[in-house]
């Protein structure tokens, strides 16, 4: 089984999906000739031609908006927003237009569009390149929000996204593009949305994370294990749909919970996770639940960004605090 990084897993999946279905087309800024600023689409225009791998003008709103028209003529567009922060230039097209097409037409028109975008920080990008905004899109009713943390999931979830008849926001962990590697089978497979992945079985405390926060949580779990704390770590994989049952099961195993994410705390997706647990698993709780997140400040300049993102040490300290609660 080949070992791939995230970029390679996503690229090979795009290629196999385009071979499988000739209505799949890619579009975005720099995705064609250059192969994307992170080379995710490297070689695909050369292979499939410039009609199916399209370099567009620098215009997020018409990239997203025209994808809806393309979808209605039988195409299955996969668009790239170069950095998630720039999705704010087309937020109305995603939130208001693409996501609501099925609902507004009572199911008579649909928008099978995959919106790929790298997100998150700590790679020393200039300003506005590092935003994590998954919670904002989780409120875009009608849109699925998919956030793989490793190459195996990246392939299975991307194939599922492209074949899905609903619009999917597929967020790619920028920091993990080349850092995170893993085995990826050559054969075709998909991973169903709404099923969390148990990465580590444990009995003392449950850690909940997704995408870029998973490696941080894994390291924190190791630090905790060194102190004899048994950590149950789950990767949500998809925020919409959310695996409510899986989450409740995971909390009931330990009675304690810490959520880790890279976006800001207030109204972040961690708040949703904790609210759900409070509603559905309150009586299994043995301690107050906690979050480790970015503060409610704008994403800072790269010189201080390492202090903005949660670190394994901070998560480990919050695990200790939660374990100390009786």
């Amino acid at each position: 089984m080949p070992t791939m990084n995230m970029v390679e897993a996503i690229r090979s999946t795009l290629k196999s999906e385009m071979e499988r279905d000739e209505t799949v087309m890619l579009m975005g800024e720099d995705v064609g000739h250059l192969g994307g600023v992170f080379r995710v689409t490297d070689g695909l225009q050369q292979f499939f031609g410039s009609r199916r791998v399209v370099d567009t003008p620098l215009a997020e709103s018409v990239i997203a908006g025209s994808a809806l028209g393309l979808a209605l003529t039988g195409w299955r567009p996969v668009i790239e927003i170069q950095f998630l922060g720039f999705s704010q230039q087309c937020f109305h097209q995603i939130n208001q237009q693409i996501s609501r097409t099925r609902f507004r037409t009572r199911g008579t028109q649909q928008a099978p569009i995959t919106i790929r975008s790298p997100f998150g920080g700590c790679v020393r990008t200039p300003e506005f390149h590092s935003d994590s905004m998954e919670q904002t899109f989780a409120q875009s009713s009608g849109l699925k929000v998919v956030m793989p943390s490793n190459p195996y999931d990246a392939k299975g979830l991307l194939a599922e996204a492209i074949r899905d008849d609903d619009p999917v926001l597929y967020l790619e962990p920028l920091r993990g593009y080349r850092l995170v590697t893993g085995e990826v089978p050559n054969e075709d497979y998909t991973i169903p949305f709404g099923k969390l992945n148990v990465l580590r079985e444990g009995t003392d405390i449950t850690l909940v994370a997704w995408s870029q926060a998973v490696p941080i949580a894994e390291k924190a779990a190791e630090l905790a294990e060194e102190k004899g704390i048994s950590v149950h770590l789950v990767d949500l994989r998809t925020l919409v749909p959310l695996d409510e049952e899986g989450l409740v099961d995971a909390i009931e195993k330990t009675g304690r919970c810490v959520v880790v994410h890279e976006s800001q705390a207030t109204a972040g997706f961690g708040a949703e996770v904790l609210a759900l647990i409070q509603e559905q698993a309150f009586y299994s709780l043995e301690a107050p639940m906690r979050r480790v997140t970015a503060p409610d400040s704008p994403y800072p300049m790269p010189g201080v960004e390492d202090h903005f993102i949660p670190t394994a040490e901070r998560v480990a300290a919050v695990i200790d605090e939660t374990m100390a609660d009786q």
Binding site: M25, R51, V54, T56, P57, A59, S61, V62, A64, G65, S66, A67, L68, G69, L70, A71, L72, T73, G74, W75, H92, Q93, Q96, Q97, T101, R102, F103, R104, T105, R106, G107, T108, Q109, Q110, S141, G142, K144, D164, D165, D166, G194, V240, P241, L242, D243, E244, E245
Partner: protein, 361 residues
Amino acid sequence: MPADFSPQFQPATKPAKPFSMLTEAGKLRRDAKPDLSEAEILDALRLMKVGRAFDEKCLNLQRQGRLGTFAPIFGQEATLVGTAMAMDPKRDWAVPQYREFPVQLRQGLSMKSIILYRRGHPDGGIIPDGVNVMATQVSLAAQIPHAVGLAWGLKLKEQDGVAVVFFGDGASSEGDFHESCNLAGVVDAPVIFLLQNNQWAISTPRSIQTGGADFASRAPAYGFPGVSVDGNDVFAVHKVVKDAVARGRRGEGATLIEAVTYRMSMHTTADDPTRYVDPRDLEVWGKRDPIMRVEKYLSSQGKWSDELAATWDQEIQDEIEAAFAEADAHAPPDPTAIYEHVFAEPTPTLARQRTEHFGAQ
């Protein structure tokens, strides 16, 4: 001699003269020859009259609290009908804003469907299979990128359809207009940008929408032609749209058409234009009425009479009443509609919320 560094491009000082065929008195201008057959001219008049009568009826009902807010078409009938009649509903797409009822009708949506929409019934959003329209757009200019995608998608599939997108002078100030024209020029999408310059965006006059002399002149900067046309002249509108459709079908890309017209009533039924519209303007534009013009033309050809007008009025009233009766017979919305068609299959969260709200199915 010193080099000349004065700007190469200077703004026009006055707007382009809109194309026109039919005078206000209903006479064809010299050399003008409508592209519409006599039967098609009668069809066009009929559709304009249906459009106006439908909105009169809707306005009455809205004033009685029996219909929701809507945007009447009064004064803009020729632009809408002339455009619709230059399209082929089987292969061309219409991408409306919210003031295009006759276009939706001509493309194949039913009057009943429009009534349901104006009543706030979710089923008013249903677009039957094979009807090439997008849903009514209320978020201004957001529909323009969709039309570019439709036109581009048809072209990539090697079909010869075009997409026609409707918007106003107000929406032309939005970024989506610019991004859309720009992409259409780059990919040569067979899209027709039908800008209805009705002089108003709620209370904002055309003079505040642009410092330019007109709108159509923006087109060459995007790499495609622009046309200014008398939007109250159904013959002229039909002709310029038909030419643009033909260019699109031939693979010659996009066209921006500015139809110069006037919004003779309110923005929507929630608006009070007496606070800002000069009644003298209404008087001037009233004389340019698009329907009256065609009636005068047909009269001069011996094809129109008071008797025929009376017969038509009755037929149109009957048609509208029948559509309202059909809408009345449509089942009222089921409250559970708020949980339907969010996704192809409900997520566990939505399914749970629905059960909590309405009990198990």
